[in-house]
């Protein structure tokens, strides 16, 4: 910690007692953390200002939409399918023991649409796209390509960050719906075809498990997740340390920070959305 943390002690390093050094290290880390949060807030503000003042060119937006959306689709669909099937495998024994096999669909679909679909799609996006964004932008930083953009009168945040942010927040809802859908299909396939649960009863109970509000809350949360992935990954790329090690570190920290923030924001939003839902408890079934 002492290497990265700013020194906040006025006592020369060689005269510090272990306790002063400890306080200095932790104090420095806290100061570094506050500075990084402030820096990221300014970065986000700059990005939002550009987004609402002048949109980037269609060419740069379309490339990012393709990379974030089209190329993520297969992996998100595959992950969703397997998670739906795993949920069926894990829940079946207990539901079967109490004779509620046909209610498996309600549990699988509810869990997928409310929680697993959005979080899984976001995790896959953070791993596949977030890491790549940080690595690409980090390499551009290290090889002075970002400086070159600035030198040529282009704003790097407008040119590089805004299209990535737009791609993430606009396409993650579609990826979430795909993860939800494929998870439901996977769960249905395993429950009905492999485990032999009655098709009509499974579908009938599935309808009870998912309301319109559940679907809305999952998609609503995913927009925040997309924003987190884009901002954290681009920020890490822009502040990449020199060398191959720096680029690798930027890519890794982009994924780790995005993932932790996604889970933290998921908890917060779930509490808020559940509070809102409790005010209107008579939600209609969606399926």
């Amino acid at each position: 910690m002492s290497e990265s943390a700013a020194s906040i002690s006025s006592i020369p390093a060689d005269e510090q007692t272990p306790f002063v050094r400890w306080v200095n290290d932790w104090g420095g880390a806290v100061v570094d953390g506050i500075v990084a949060i402030g820096d990221m807030a300014i970065f986000t503000w700059h990005m939002l200002r550009w987004m609402f003042s002048r949109l980037p060119s269609r060419g740069t937006v379309l490339i990012n939409f393709y990379q974030v959306g089209a190329l993520s689709l297969p992996v998100v669909a595959l992950t969703g399918t397997f998670i739906g099937m795993v949920l069926a495998v894990q829940s079946y024994a207990q539901f079967h023991a109490i004779g509620l096999d046909s209610r498996l669909g309600a549990v699988i679909n509810g869990t997928l649409v409310k929680e697993l679909g959005p979080v899984l799609a976001a995790t896959m996006l953070a791993g596949r796209v977030g890491g790549a964004m940080a690595a690409v932008l980090g390499t551009m930083r290290v090889t002075e390509q970002i400086d070159a953009l600035t030198a040529m009168g282009a704003d790097p945040i407008h040119y590089l960050v805004v299209p990535r942010f737009l791609a993430c927040i606009l396409l993650i809802p579609a990826l979430t719906i795909m993860a939800d859908f494929m998870g439901i299909v996977g769960g249905y396939f395993y429950s009905v075809v492999i485990l032999g649960i009655d098709h009509a009863a499974y579908l009938n109970h599935s309808r009870e498990g998912v309301t319109g509000f559940d679907l809305f809350s999952g998609i609503f949360k995913s927009i925040f997740f997309g924003g987190i992935i884009a901002i954290v990954s681009c920020y890490r790329g822009f502040h990449c340390e020199p060398g191959a090690d720096g680029v690798g570190k930027a890519a890794t920290t982009a994924f780790v920070y995005s993932f932790v923030l996604i889970l933290a924001v998921d908890l917060f939003l779930t509490i808020v959305l559940n509070s809102i839902y409790s005010l209107y408890p008579n939600g209609t079934s969606f399926l």
Binding site: A6, T139, M140, T143, E144, Q145, D147, A148, T150, A151, M152, G153, A154, D155
Partner: protein
């Protein structure tokens, strides 16, 4: 190349050719606790070609990036045509940067774009030029730096170091800048290609009335292209009262400079640096 016929905020005519084009006044740059530049005062007149020399880590590149506003000075001011870069808003500084062409050390070409798109990039940022004119200007500037038409579809990774530098120069020239800034233009190139780049710098100056700042530690380049040489010295190895610019004069005066450190650098003699490095290693 762009005629300076604008007026500044005070309504003063900035086309006055006697006024320095670029001026660094008491410029200091510090990263965390590390002082890179301290109290730098430099004036660059229109049409001059200034070579900035000095050993690695002396702050040449930082100085150059400070000149075009890529690095904000910790103290002091950079004046472009008498107007302080610090006093400019974002739009003004963007316009000011378009008066510069910047050739980066490793060319800094965009990996994801073809050579054509790299060279056309500054033009497309302005968005007032047709595709046909863009194409004509890109091919013209590539031809000026001796690159054939068939490189336009290639990616930067497919070109040699010398070709990438020449593409970087074509990209820097495409907006017809008033000031060309070269960062280590010959570093990493073989002697022949280094001389090709030197000749291109001279040819560019002959063709356009451009002011040039060449950051280099290649003395052959400094002697060949510059009409004025500044030598920087690492701040950490100077006494507090010493100025960081050890030499400011013509290339012909370099050999007989009063300061022993300048003569040593010009001749490429390690001198007492070997002892200093040994002492640093001992710590």
């Amino acid at each position: 190349m762009n005629a300076a016929t604008e007026t500044n905020d005070e309504g003063t005519d900035i086309s006055d050719l006697n006024r320095p084009l670029i001026e660094a006044r008491n410029v200091s740059v510090q990263f965390d606790t590390q002082k890179i530049l301290s109290n730098i005062n430099v004036t660059i007149q229109r049409g001059q070609t200034v070579a900035v020399i000095g050993e690695s880590g002396c702050g040449k590149t930082v100085f150059m990036k400070t000149l075009i506003g890529l690095i904000c000075p910790t103290a002091g001011h950079i004046l472009l045509d008498g107007i302080d870069l610090n006093a400019m808003d974002q739009e003004q500084i963007t316009l000011a940067r378009r008066r510069f062409g910047f050739v980066f050390q490793n060319a800094a070409l965009f990996d994801s774009m073809s050579i054509f798109d790299n060279v056309a990039f500054p033009l497309r940022q302005i968005k007032k030029i047709s595709d046909q004119e863009t194409s004509e200007r890109v091919l013209q500037h590539l031809a000026e730096v001796g690159l054939p038409k068939n490189v336009t579809r290639k990616r930067p990774a497919e070109l040699s170091g010398g070709m990438r530098k020449r593409v970087g120069l074509a990209r820097a020239l495409i907006l017809n800048p008033e000031v060309l800034v070269y960062d280590e233009p010959t570093t990493g190139l073989d002697p022949i290609m280094s001389d090709v780049i030197n000749e291109l710098i001279l040819e560019t100056r002959r063709r356009y009335p451009v002011t040039s700042v060449v950051v280099t530690h290649d003395m052959r380049t400094a002697r060949k292209v510059a009409d004025r040489v500044l030598m920087f010295y690492p701040r950490t190895r100077l006494l507090d009262e010493e100025a960081q610019i050890l030499f400011d004069g013509s290339p012909s005066e370099l050999e007989n400079a009063e300061d022993r450190r300048v003569r040593q650098f010009v001749r490429g003699e390690a001198g007492e640096r070997l002892n200093e490095l040994a002492q640093q290693a001992a710590f």
